[in-house]
């Protein structure tokens, strides 16, 4: 009897509870990308319907959600020229408020499990710290911590546009990151997980910048984030980004051009492997750094005609490329260390590990200290391959 009763209770409890969190996949909007802009700035541009949500006269955030238009992705409708994504924008004070506005406007609730990128406008980042902007996405368990965070110099919502209906802009941004082995101008992806760490540590860092024009995008340099404020202070160019990836050893590939001194004809070196090391020194309380870069690669293009033996051309080329790299490094360091006065590469970490006592002394105002420190670098380049012809061409 007791057993029967227990069984009954068990059965009833399963049935009565119903399918409480059941929500069929087609009844949800699959969000894949988010663009966060400065609401004040975009207010003029945006349609009225996007703005009525704001309770104040102006909202702080203009958030654009990109979700997949699932009916356009069925095999029958593919290639029909229908856009595969839909962008919805809303202006409001906070992220969460803006998301709930979507529920007032769209048939299906939005779901963030598959969000791939969050693009934040640089202008907004100058005003509000990244910790505040990202707080919702870090708190909420729906968005993956592997979600990519990018900066856009222009309006962020434009990066989620594309002219080709077959292209889903969020996936395009994600795909470009995977091309890092083909270019030295792509940073290691900055994910939500890393943002969490960076926004609480005091050190400065870089965020990959996206340039957009007419529904097309390009990864172009990076935004510099000051560690203390978590706000954007400026940008570095694509070329300067190469310098950063050379120092960090993240340049897994990508061409480095050099020019022959007399003729001015170009030759191109492609990085195959790169090893780099930052060595901190503390002598009588004075901190200095050595950067050692050791790279092997391919002479992939050489415009100059020459009758000299390959070995000689190669060693000349190595010399030229080394100088080119040194120039890049110098330019990059001048920009970050001297101009913006931030350490975005991770010198602080090396110092902290090797000289913890010294670090404790300088850590409170590291960026300012760093700006005055001497940095030396030595670069070794070795051409291991000329491709299918010999070096003379």
């Amino acid at each position: 009897m007791k057993k029967a009763l227990l069984l009954l209770i068990l059965l009833i409890s399963t049935v009565l509870s119903g399918c409480w969190s059941s929500k069929e996949i087609e009844d949800l909007s699959l969000n894949v990308g988010i663009a966060i802009d400065d609401g004040d700035q975009l207010a003029e541009e945006m349609r009225h319907i996007d703005q009525v949500s704001s309770s104040q006269e102006k909202g702080d955030l203009a958030v654009t959600f990109q979700y997949i238009n699932t009916s356009a992705t069925t095999p029958d409708s593919k290639g029909g020229g229908q856009k595969q994504f839909t962008n919805v924008s809303a202006i409001g004070n906070t992220n969460h408020q803006n998301i709930r506005v979507i529920s007032l406007r769209e048939e299906n609730p939005i779901m963030f499990h598959h969000t791939k990128v969050i693009v934040v406008s640089g202008e907004l980042l100058k005003k509000i710290g990244i910790r505040e902007i990202m707080d919702f996405y870090l708190r909420d368990s729906e968005a993956r911590l592997s979600c990519l965070v990018l900066v856009s110099k222009g309006p962020a919502k434009d990066t989620l546009q594309s002219k080709d209906p077959a292209v889903i802009p969020s996936f395009r941004l994600l795909g470009i990151v995977d091309n890092a082995y083909r270019s030295s101008r792509i940073l290691n992806p900055m994910t939500l997980a890393k943002i969490q760490g960076e926004s609480y540590s005091k050190s400065s860092y870089l965020l990959q910048n996206v340039y957009t024009e007419d529904g097309e995008v390009k990864f172009s340099g990076a935004g510099i984030m000051r560690g203390k404020t978590n706000k954007l202070i400026g940008y570095i160019s694509e070329d300067d980004l190469t310098g950063i990836t050379l120092i960090t050893g993240d340049a897994k590939g990508g061409p480095i051009p050099a020019f022959e001194k007399q003729s001015g004809k170009p030759m191109v070196y492609e990085i195959e492997t790169i090893k780099s090391k930052i060595i901190p020194h503390v002598k009588r309380g004075k901190i200095s750094f050595d950067i050692k870069i050791d790279s092997e690669g391919i002479l992939s293009e050489n415009w100059k005609d020459s009758k000299e033996p390959s070995e000689k051309i190669a060693s000349e080329a190595e010399e030229l490329i080394k100088e080119e790299m040194e120039k890049t490094l110098a330019r990059t360091l001048k920009k970050t260390q001297k101009h913006y006065k931030v350490d975005v590469v991770g010198f602080d970490n090396e110092l902290r590990i090797k000289y913890p006592k010294t670090w404790n002394r300088v850590k409170d105002d590291w960026d300012a200290t760093f700006a005055e420190l001497p940095i030396k670098y030595s670069i070794k380049v070795k051409i291991i391959n000329y491709g299918n012809t010999d070096a003379r061409s």
């Binding site: 996949i25 699932t70 992705t73 791939k116």
Partner: protein, 511 residues
């Protein structure tokens, strides 16, 4: 059946009437009458009156039309009985008496019994023996000339193999025991005869290898079979249901097989086989879950491919059980766990489907089950045709009509195929039953429900025993020694010990 019942009633009546002489007397006419009365008006019983040639004695032969060997009767029995006896024969008759003379010199038949009770003689006649009544002899000679109706040995239909013997059991128990004997000369292979059935007796044989099988196990099986009280046993499935441990379990607790090699392998491990006359399905007990996922071929192939095939079967069992329920829980509860591109294409294909996933899955699963059942019952020539038509209609038309999504068709088809990859049909059926329960659990709680279902299902398995042997051994209780032949089929040199939990008399194999 009915005529037999009548026979028994009649014989009881007759027993009362002929109280004075319940035995044969030697009076030909009265003996004849006794037998005739007992047999009644059965059209399939033939009798032939004749004279033992030059002795002038009257004689009669009763036999069963169709079951007795007519050729033997015509060519050897009647001809030798009607042949004139020579002088030396007559002297011999005087010396031995007519009955012994006939037994010793005339009837060239291996199986001869004497009977002085008409009732026993009648039962023998109904079994297919012939009864010879001779004037002045107070006993009836029962001649074992039964020619059982049987078919040729054929490949087992329900368990075909690529590599392995092509022989299967038949409906005749004598053939079946002979096949087992034929598997290898073994003086320790014991056959224990029992006849079971209250109304109609049927022969069962309990086979085991003396010196390997645990005596307690044999005794227990004998005890359970002795306890069977039933009118009639048409098939060994009856025995299976009457002696199994847990009648509520969805799992088969006794293995049935048509393959002599499988039976022999089980006997050599120390298990016991139960054969029943009239069915080609032989029962093996005790059984474990892993046995139902194994095929004799696993041992005939080399161990690496055999292991891979075994792994594949475990995977198929997993898909059979969880395929649709995992799909349901991913689609309705955890869209975040699906890779993005797949999630998009699933969402796209489900666009416009009017049912929730559970209903959609149930619809398709039930359709497939109906198709399977129909294909089974249909006459052979149209079976496959209907299967194709049904499959096409369900698969293609349902998708284009927008009732189900493409991916669901894939899931359901994969699950159906997986359930047929089970080497034992009965296991496939039980897993299919459980699949529906797991689908319901998934539709209520998602993956959490599937986990709950798994816990329930595992706790049942852990409690399930087959003749004292844990059903999921050697997994639980864990016996490291037996793991060599569980998911992995170890190489031959490892296969030297018999399953530990069977507690055999001889734990190590010879050689």
């Amino acid at each position: 059946m009915k005529s037999l019942d009548k026979e028994e009633q009649k014989s009881k009546k007759n027993g009362k009437e002929t109280k004075q002489s319940p035995v044969f007397t030697g009076n030909f006419e009265s003996d004849l009458k006794k037998v005739k009365d007992l047999l009644g008006e059965n059209s399939d019983i033939l009798f032939r009156k004749f004279r033992l040639n030059n002795t002038k004695l009257k004689a009669a032969l009763f036999y069963l039309d169709g079951l007795s060997d007519k050729e033997l009767i015509d060519k050897f029995l009647l001809s030798s009985l009607m042949k004139p006896f020579s002088e030396t024969d007559k002297e011999q008759i005087k010396q031995d008496g007519l009955k012994d003379f006939l037994k010793n010199n005339v009837l060239s038949i291996g199986e001869i019994k004497e009977s002085d009770e008409p009732e026993k003689a009648v039962i023998e006649i109904l079994n297919g023996s012939a009864a010879l009544i001779i004037e002045s002899v107070p006993e009836v000679l029962v001649l074992g000339i039964k020619k059982p109706k049987t078919r040729d040995l054929q490949e087992p239909i329900s368990e075909p193999l690529v590599r392995g013997p092509r022989i299967g059991f038949t409906e005749n128990i004598k053939d079946n025991t002979a096949i087992l004997r034929n598997q290898g000369q073994n003086e320790d292979l014991f056959f224990l005869k029992k006849s079971v059935g209250e109304r109609a007796k049927k022969q069962t044989v309990i086979a085991y290898i003396n010196g390997i099988a645990n005596q307690d196990l044999v005794d227990e099986i004998v005890r359970r079979i002795d306890k069977i009280k039933i009118d009639f046993l048409p098939e060994s499935g009856y025995i299976e249901q009457l002696i199994e441990d847990n009648f509520l379990s969805p799992f088969p607790q006794i293995q049935s097989t048509e393959r002599p090699d499988r039976v022999m392998g089980a006997l050599m491990e120390g298990r016991v086989a139960i054969l029943l006359d009239g069915t080609p399905y032989v029962l093996i007990a005790p059984v474990t879950l892993s046995m139902l996922l194994q095929s004799p071929e696993d041992y005939y192939e080399r161990w690496i491919p055999a292991t891979l095939v075994r792994l594949l079967r475990f995977l198929a069992a997993f898909i059979t059980l969880y395929g649709p329920s995992l799909y349901i829980s991913f689609i309705s509860f955890h869209p975040g766990l699906i890779p993005t591109k797949l999630a998009i294409s699933i969402a796209g294909s489900r666009e416009g489907v009017p049912f929730p996933t559970l209903l959609e899955a149930m619809l398709m699963e039930i359709a497939i089950e109906i198709l399977r059942e129909a294909g089974l019952r249909l006459p052979k020539p149209i079976g496959p045709a209907i299967g194709i038509v049904g499959g096409l209609i369900i698969g293609e038309a349902a998708v284009s009509a927008g009732i189900v999504s493409r991916i669901m068709v894939i899931v359901v088809a994969l699950t159906a195929i997986s359930s047929f990859a089970m080497p034992q049909y009965s296991l496939g059926t039980s897993l299919r039953i459980l699949r529906f329960i797991s689908m319901l659990a998934a539709s209520i709680y998602g993956l959490y429900g599937v986990v709950l279902f798994t816990l329930l299902f595992l706790s049942h398995l852990v409690r399930l025993y087959s003749f004292g042997v844990p059903y999921i051994s050697p997994w639980t209780p864990l016996r490291m020694k037996d793991l060599k032949d569980f998911i992995v089929r170890g190489p031959m040199f490892l296969m030297k010990s018999r399953p530990v939990l069977l507690q055999t008399k001889e734990p190590r194999r010879k050689g």
